[in-house]
């Protein structure tokens, strides 16, 4: 590996190790409750009679991760794609 690519690899590694769960925990304490309510309404199986199975699975995932904001954010995108 040449010095330039080694430098960029090092920078990337430093960026990766700086992102830890502490900020996610604080974000979760502040924002997760509201997002969980929003997503549990959006994924309610009664709202999607044609895609009941998908909605049920997504609702289970939302309930399992109701205290994790970053997971809820990724689930929000998934819900928007699957339950249009």
């Amino acid at each position: 590996m040449n010095p330039i690519s080694r430098f960029f690899a090092r920078m990337k590694f430093r960026r990766v190790i700086k992102t830890d769960e502490s900020s996610n925990v604080v974000d979760s304490m502040v924002k997760a409750r509201k997002l969980y309510k929003e997503l549990s309404i959006a994924t309610h199986p009664d709202k999607h009679p044609s895609k009941k199975d998908v909605a049920e699975k997504l609702m289970q995932q939302v309930t399992a991760n109701k205290h994790n904001y970053s997971v809820l954010i990724s689930l929000k995108n998934e819900i928007e794609e699957k339950l249009k």
Binding site: D20, E21, S22, V25, V26, V30
Partner: protein
Amino acid sequence: MNIKTLLTNLINTLLDGSFERVRIISQMNTAFKEYFTTGEFNRLCKVSIAQGNSAFAHEMSSLWIRSGFKITIENDSSLCESEINGLAAYITDNASFVRQLMAMGFDTLTIKGKTSGMTKSFALKKFANLNQYYIK
């Protein structure tokens, strides 16, 4: 490895991971303060290192006087036990954060109201999902 990284790692090892602890605690304190001042969160929380409960110790625990991870709620009027449990759930349900805390030498999570004195402690090892790797 350059000399600066070597020295940092050496001091970090001698101080038992203090750099990482201080970084995480200051990050969390900044975030809590920002959310309180912007009005997104009504409780002002302060994170600090405190003494841990020796009954909750595990193999990775540091000295008991610095093995507690304490969250103090500064404005604790009408604080109830269910609210403390609710706040604790955000930490205990996040297994990767619990493992990160355990790796840094913490064994006890304490949540305390500043003026009411209402305190609850939790053993971190119960929430790390390390069933197959027994922790005493």
